[in-house]
Symmetry: C2
Subunit: 208 residues, 2 copies
């Protein structure tokens, strides 16, 4: 298995979501082109991704939904799951917490952190919010390996520093500041304004 392309990992996650839907609707098998249509990509891409993870079917009646879900799970999930924390439980942090809560069993938001005394030491959106000063301790105690950053942009760098000191292994950064992390920490960044500006640019392009 070793080295799967980064893009493939993203698509596997999406396939699984769709497959879980199929399962819920009683579909037991799905063709590569069905999966492709549902994701706006080509059937070849789907087959190639699935080839890469080593699953294959002898039948010509499509992939076995259940089996494929399991195979993808073996790639993406860890045996015991991973814990994540939200840092900065403001508007976005609360939306994410409320959304994730109870959605994935293998990946859960175990704690949130904030500096605002109005928010700390309370349960917000179903998860306990701790003062940032306790971050190191809680991250270790609760074996949290992923940090989701939703603090104000100007605090992002400092918070990241603390997170890494506390032994965090992966960061999902939603603040509009890009971060520098040591290469043993995986960093994924997403900026909504960039996305929106991209849409705007291509809308403009198409009009010309």
């Amino acid at each position: 298995m070793s080295k799967l392309p980064e893009k493939t990992i993203g698509r596997l996650s999406e396939y699984r979501r769709t497959l879980l839907n199929c399962l819920a609707n009683g579909k037991t098998h799905v063709f590569s082109h069905d999966l492709a249509n549902l994701h706006n990509i080509t059937a070849v891409q789907v087959r190639r991704d699935i080839m890469l993870i080593g699953y294959s079917t002898t039948l010509k009646k499509g992939y076995d939904v259940k089996a494929l879900i399991d195979v993808i799970g073996n790639i993406i999930d860890t045996k015991d799951g991973l814990n994540a924390a939200i840092i900065g439980i403001g508007n976005l942090g609360r939306a994410i917490t409320a959304y994730f809560n109870g959605k994935r069993t293998r990946l859960k938001i175990a704690a949130t952190f904030d500096t605002d005394p109005e928010k700390t030491n309370r349960v917000i959106s179903g998860v306990k919010c701790y003062p940032i000063s306790e971050m190191g301790r809680i991250i270790k105690e609760q074996d949290i390996s992923i940090g989701i950053l939703t603090v104000p942009p100007e605090d992002a760098a400092a918070v990241t520093e603390t997170l890494i000191m506390a032994g965090i292994k992966g960061i999902l950064n939603y603040t509009s500041t890009s971060l520098n992390v040591s290469p043993n920490v995986y960093l994924e960044e997403y900026d909504m304004i960039t996305s929106l500006e991209k849409v705007a640019y291509f809308v403009k392009e198409k009009n010309e």
Copy 2:
């Protein structure tokens, strides 16, 4: 100029954000490697992107911050700006609206839409929320060309249909359902769970 790589567009948006920061801090010039460090990429990449948009400096004291902001603006922005709408003013929709409101002059959230009568015909997070039934009319009246989808996943497809009928030109889809749109509409999709699962996968990888 014609065809800029998609990735470059994304980075230009990010450079501009950083450049605006520089400007605010009184920096008038910035080196390619400064910009690179701030974005976790290489200086070559920065220079190449900037080459592609046709800006260059004769000085060897870095790029002129103000000038570069303008050049990027000419690429990304339209003359009169574009209007966007949020569809589904729930947790995520509200967070986005509150965040964007008053941030970009050239790109603004002009209206929001929802089905919930508790929410419609009120101002939420600073923007008027209309019932979904009026979407066609409002989109035309207010010249809205971008739709940001934050409705429940099961409603995404139907809402998209309506959006396209109303003449929307670009969609930013935050629901966890991927959409099919005609090729004259630009579609950008982002799924937080996929992002988080990607982080989880690479965290797991690194541990092995």
